[in-house]
Symmetry: D2
């Protein structure tokens, strides 16, 4: 363990893919805040599987019940518990997987850790399904941030080898709105078709493809973050790496900076005409020494290709001790990146609220 | 804040670049462990500035005094406090920097956060000097890990655009020993000369250069790590991003995986001839679903070019409200990567001990 | 906040007296433990209201649903969430209490803290009802402790001015069994009748009465507890004072020791015939310097009289700004002490597990 | 462990009675606060041994060095580390005590916990000397509280069987000032002589005597404290029980309330002539349901007689396995209560700051 995270907002996530239910306890929502339940539902719909080629903004999603902490739509200040029932869980599909370890899945590590007592059906507690309660919590955090003028927005930075543009030094309200309205949020819309094709081809091949999500937090003031161990980057990365399939995190220009000289990538300060302090570039992604600079906080995450593929793979049967072949069946996403946008934004919102919350 | 980190080993770091002293309180070292003070000193010497072209294994370093927690060289079980006095601090060099914000340094964020009361001399609490007590703590953690058969080792993965090889699927004792004995730890020794030249050129130009450090933890069992929020990757990345100049973290193949299909990068399981379960590749860096697989835990970090350069830069004077030019003086490392190896290993050791410690 | 407590076992409690449900997330139950659901139910029945003169061991109680973390009755190692639906909540009874602050209840402090947004019905989140999920968690902890030979047992030390005996230096299995089988757990059974009368008289008068619960933890080894801030006494007292109506905590002889000289109350050590180290007295309640001595850990808690009484009381209407009279209606316990035994044992079990758990 | 406590102010205490030094790292002091070093010294002098019949306000005390976190007397916002060197430690006095367990001291528990590696000299880490850094931290907290109009004050409630008065419902500035100026802080000064005699007699007999300290926090608003597990009482009691020799904690009337009926001890609310809400009595010590009521927070602690006495006692030699006689030598306080006043106030200040700090 730990299933509990946070300080200003403390969230505790519970459940498994095929348990009776999953959910979250969210402690610290300020009393008196009117929760925008429609917004929460729409955020959860962005994440939910929907049968399309990838996630679409259709407003359908996991239905949640709020057990406590909210009265007449208003936060009471006490813990909010939201429960999502698991339905349509065809556990029988997973019977063959009890002893056969799916490659690049958590099956084997979990089996060792829990001595075989973990619920292996659908990945159990390691399932991407557990990001649903996180999106619930993140939607609340987003709402709290918006009241402070802080926006969290993301786009597909790449799918496979097809790359979108990167965020610029400043990010406009128009860009934010355009990304939010898009089925496939891209800064360079000309890449839309190519990305659809890459995903469709992976699907047709019974295979999967990965990608990169770039996320920005705008409207954030300078001076936030806590040295040494609660730096903006520490808190954000810690949560980002809790999201299944994330294998890399960069702030600003990240690895690209390592190839350059300081004189090229240092972000020069200047006073603009309004007397506001800015940097001419934002290679550091809005964070220096773990503290915000007042520029947008920009980071991206590497999302590996969906581990579940239909192609035959080599693996082991830990019960028999044999090397075996495995061909997965059922429904699998050929590309998890589109659905993951809402999850990355959710944890970004939760992480940032840690520094600006009451 | 927070200056305190950890659970099994809890470390609290204090001090500023020009304060009377800096240090660490390390709580949780098991009673009865004989501390290898020579090893601690040699680790600190790897990190300490030494006037060479980059850090060498010369056994000189920050001298520490252990105030408590150790009796006759043996850990008592109670907190260990080690203090390093700051000497040779030419604070006058920094007088001009009180109001002039060094580009890509934490100066401005700190000034806003602490309302101008922070010690700006030498970067104050944001100084890389604060990694010295972390290396002290990491050296203790390394010693505790070694008693459990766990090794932490790193190499220079790249400096500027010059790239070393990556760790292979398995990492041998010979490789580990070779890296530990090297002034410039590289897997591909043929890159030694080129890397020295890149650093020397940056120095000659009054400029700096970045790089990537790849680190591996070997001898680690499957089943370690805690879902959801204390995954191996979450805990490691959180500490790694506390290290100044780190701007990216990848596990295993990281971003490279996002360009490939699942069928290409999924790590296949197999029983080897000894009945041990392995993967044929280690693209996931020894971690799946936040839990160790039993393969080496492999990650790398992006270290940006040293922010301090002698070349003239644009910046601001926050007292006068003017845009100004800045030319830094004094001693600066043209490349921090070599000295940072010991720091990355230190935080890796501390993070991993969290999962295997008593 | 915080609704989350603990380390080895981490519990997160949620809900209000009149919300849809209340419950607990319990993280850290070791994988593979077969949960004794009947035992959990019987513990919850000890706490549940039952209409008798005080709590009886009738096996009726709050019905809970386990949403996750348990498969085929066995703990999976992942978080267990148990939900108890609130039923038979006559919220209308409480309409008059929205603005009238019940004396010695949390109403006013909560109203100020949550700016009037808290659910005031039935005391909301401050209701004693929230101890039900704690008893669930405590029952699990008790089961884990019993597997280690550790027993938690309590008795009524006093009701009003009627006093039971105190635990002796050693506590036998017979005493433990006798207390567990009793409707009114007393060491001196001769006080049974008098105590029943005191409670009955308070009830007849529309009044209430307090008491003291003495609790012991047996089978506990020496050397447990963590200086400085996680002493046995610190951790236990912190949880004990989370229980509504607890206003005092003593370890061993507590306040009585302050009236004596050291030579009288110091606990002398001796080797017994089996070479085991004991103390001749246990005035320190099994804890010295925050660490267990190997003697039973003994403490007691002061439980104030139930705040809810039928007698007319002076108070305020915060909406009108007037001083008013209040006569409460409905069902109220004349003495909460008997039901509180299971709660005190539950938190004791949770606190002690912190020091002996995996 | 844990040697670290807190949230708004996080303190980490280190050291042993005979180590090179002891000290504290205090993280979270707001940047820009001018530290009143004279006040800190005077608080430490209240606690320090001074050779008198009990502690006097002579301004002598443990000398501390501030290593970092303060520049020109002003808090920088980063961690403050204060170190106190141990001097005049006659370790040879303790050679006989290595294997002989002092009754009612932590010796045996520590020896078991740390497997004999703990520094036994002078009680090592369990020594009352470790309260010196806590008083340092508490003095800072007091200063921060005073800026918010919050005062922490205490008096001797009893020594042996001699009892002072209790605090009334309201506590005046005059009372606070009188207590602060007194060598022996009593509400009923007529008890001064009797208390001196009780202590002197204990000293003359080579014995010791205990007592009770009552402490009040005034100027505190309603609505502070966090359900469930960070109630005012939980946080306060947790810290209070970290203080050596404390064996009981009561809030308000505590145990006395358990003997009364609800109608007698319930605290009635009323609006006073200024429209302020008060209670006519304060039996609940300013806390209901874990939340402040706006009345003074009042609690008391039981301090057992000093465990070290000169009279011969029975105990064990754990090395030889024999029951032995022990006669302690050296300097010992016949009554620790007077010196403990500053420690109790210190932890009260730290605990309360948790709820009002930035």
């Amino acid at each position: 363990m730990s299933a509990t995270w946070g300080n200003k907002l403390k969230m505790t996530v519970f459940g498994e893919s095929h348990s009776a239910g999953i959910g979250v306890v969210l402690d610290g929502v300020p009393a008196g805040v009117k929760l925008d339940l429609d917004f929460i539902k729409s955020e959860m719909a962005r994440r939910a599987p929907n049968g399309g080629e990838f996630s679409t903004p259709r407003k359908e999603g996991d239905e949640f019940e709020i057990l406590c902490g909210v009265m007449d739509g208003v936060a009471e200040g006490t813990p909010i518990c939201a429960v999502i029932r698991n339905t349509n869980t065809k556990s029988s599909d997973y019977a063959q997987l009890k002893d056969i370890m799916r490659p690049s899945h958590a099956d084997y590590g979990y089996r060792v850790k829990y001595d075989g007592n973990n619920d292996y059906r659908g990945g159990g507690a390691s399932s991407g399904r557990l990001t649903a309660p996180i999106v619930f919590a993140g939607a609340v955090a987003k709402q709290l941030l918006e009241a402070k003028g802080i926006e969290v927005v993301s786009h597909i930075s790449s799918i496979g080898k097809v790359k979108d543009k990167k965020f610029g030094v400043s990010i406009t309200a128009e860009e934010i709105n355009a990304l939010r309205g898009a089925v496939l949020p891209l800064l360079d819309k000309s890449k839309d078709e190519e990305i659809r094709r890459v995903i469709a081809e992976a699907r047709a091949d019974g295979d999967s493809v990965g990608g990169v999500i770039e996320c920005a937090v705008t409207g954030i003031k300078a001076g936030l973050g806590d040295p040494m161990f609660d730096s903006i980057e520490s808190v954000l990365s810690s949560l980002l790496f809790s999201v299944p399939a994330v294998k890399g995190v960069e702030f600003g220009s990240g690895y690209a900076m390592t190839e350059e000289r300081g004189s090229v990538v240092n972000d020069s300060w200047y006073f603009d005409e309004n007397g506001r302090i800015n940097t001419r570039t934002n290679n550091n992604g809005g964070v220096l020494g773990g503290i915000t600079t007042g520029m947008p906080v920009v980071f991206n995450v590497a999302v590996k290709p969906t581990a579940s593929i239909f192609k035959e793979q080599d693996t082991v049967n830990v019960a028999t001790g044999e090397n075996v072949k495995l061909s997965l069946k059922g429904r699998h996403d050929p590309c998890i990146v589109v659905r993951a946008l809402s999850v990355i934004e959710a944890v970004a919102a939760l992480a940032i609220y840690q520094f600006v919350g009451e």
